[in-house]
């Protein structure tokens, strides 16, 4: 038995794929061998099989979503769909009298051609398998990839679909995700909010620290533990720079970002703590002497007196 299929059959199937030859012209005149009973049986398989596959796919997806996770539900639903579709196609063809051996051989030849043409797709599919196995994120997580931030809608075999926070749809190929740095913003239940604050050099850093910690204490959604931190960051050009780090739950992060910065501003106003604008001191001649200023009117009077 030859390892290779009949070349004429391969050529015929390839021609069918290329839509150059009608299916009815396949060697062996298969259509002539199909009787009414076979046709009916095949038709019934398709008519019953297609809805059954859709039903099983949806049922599996719902079951796995409710019992395991949305991610697993999505994947198992698709697996059931593709496996069912492949099984239906094969059994229908066998029922119709097609011999699968030459077709599989032809598929090998076609596969090589398609393989070269679909390197990117295959790469995406393999990357998708890694994403599903590794699970750096799941459906409903909010992730950041490059400049794009959004909620994961689906993790498919070829790509991941996101809904951005301003409600745009973004499709990212799986290969890109595997190669890129992905930040999962909602993976952990608590997040830290970093607020960078500059205060004037005349302020007492210890007092500023106490005021900031008190602001965190009185904000109900700022977590008391992990405790808020105030870190002296730098002696900057125009200010003492502090890092005010407060923890909250991932759901309250945005609310805390708004509320605590407003509270810091109001509290600084109450306490008379200055948030300085960038400023620069100019000296002429000596750094210890003030810049000399003469009033123009005085100059005029002096010149008139002369």
């Amino acid at each position: 038995m030859s390892l290779f299929p009949d070349p004429t059959l391969v050529a015929a199937v390839v021609a069918v794929f290329l839509q150059e030859v009608p299916v009815a012209d396949l060697p062996g005149q298969i259509w002539e061998r199909i009787d009414w009973a076979t046709g009916l049986r095949s038709g019934a398989m398709v008519v019953l099989g297609v809805p059954l596959i859709f039903f099983l796919s949806r049922f599996t997806r719902t079951w796995a979503t409710t019992r395991i996770s949305a991610q697993v539900g999505l994947v198992t639903g698709k697996l059931v769909f593709y496996a069912g579709a492949a099984t239906l196609v094969v059994t229908t063809m066998v029922e119709l009298g097609f011999s699968l051996t030459p077709l599989l051989g032809a598929a090998g030849v076609v596969g090589i051609a398609l393989g070269f043409a679909s390197q990117t797709s295959v790469s995406n599919i393999i990357a998708g398998l890694f994403l599903i196995a590794e699970q750096p994120f799941v459906v409903d997580d909010i992730i950041q990839v490059g400049d794009v931030t959004g909620r994961v809608l689906t993790v498919d075999t070829m790509s991941v679909k996101l809904r951005t926070l301003d409600n745009r749809f973004v499709r990212i190929p799986n290969e890109t995700l595997v190669k890129s740095t992905v930040i999962n913003i909602t993976r952990f239940p608590i997040r830290r909010l970093d607020v960078r604050i500059g205060v004037a050099y005349k302020e007492n850093p210890q007092r500023v620290r106490e005021v900031l910690l008190d602001v965190a204490d009185t904000n109900p959604i700022a977590l008391m533990e992990p405790e808020p931190l105030v870190i002296f960051d730098a002696f900057a050009d125009s200010s003492l720079n502090l890092l005010f780090a407060v923890w909250t739950t991932r759901e309250n992060w945005l609310e805390l970002k708004n509320s605590i910065q407003e509270e810091v501003k109001l509290r600084f106003d109450e306490e008379g703590i200055e948030i300085p604008f960038p400023h620069r001191s100019l000296y002429v001649g000596s750094e210890s002497e003030a810049f000399p200023i003469r009033i123009v009117s005085d100059v005029v009077e002096e010149s008139e007196a002369d």
Binding site: L223, M224, E225, P226, I231, W247
Partner: protein
Amino acid sequence: MSAGTWGGLALGVGESAVYRLGELSLRLRRRHEEVWMHAGHEVSTPIETASVSIGQSDEAAGDVSSEAWIRWAVPEGEDLELQPVLPDRPVVVSPEQPFFLPPEGRARVFVRIPLFVKVQTSGEATEASTLEEFPSVVLSDTWWGSFTEGDLGYWLETRARREITPELYSPHLAVCPFVLVNRSDQPLPVERFAVRVAYLTLFGRGQAVWTDEVQVRYSGGPEGSEIHYTGKVPEDAGDVAPLATSREPAPRGFNARTFGRLKARMAAL
């Protein structure tokens, strides 16, 4: 209302009421088939006694912008009822002055937990249904667990008293007796401990509100502590009557992490 704090609150159509408990000032209005509610908190001046005043007009409920009210559709035949409940999340207790429990040591401490006010309907023909819950004291959030998993809870600073004194009682604070036993061979630092208040039952008499006793046996190691909720009136409470059942049925005994703290400084940079 029993003892002026809990119980039914009959409001006729057009009547308003102001209910004060702890820092809470709860305004209620009855309007035909509706009940309107508004909760405010005076953080600086907690009130040690509960009070309720009913007026005929909306002015009795105070001048509050219409957006701040919560509206509920309640049939005219149904009255309102105010019930005490413990907070809806675990409470993480932080003693003002942490203490150590020596190996094989035992300590009984009293922690005062702020109550929530549950507003529910009460009708002869219908079952009571909860409308809203309001805290008598606004507690800050805190996290109990690790950086990757845990529970959201309320933060409560307490003196963790070792004896009962008259000033212990307040209508908006439930006294929770805690028995801590250190069965490990190491001193136990009591800096923070978690109280799963959903399992606690409330008892009351006059101004005094008590919960059942919680017994915690610490054995060291990561497996947590063995916790037991007695479900009975504590021996120090005297003659008290049941006020409210627990939010969830208390398990007979279980192990859970009870002591410890989450240090943020390591994660600061």
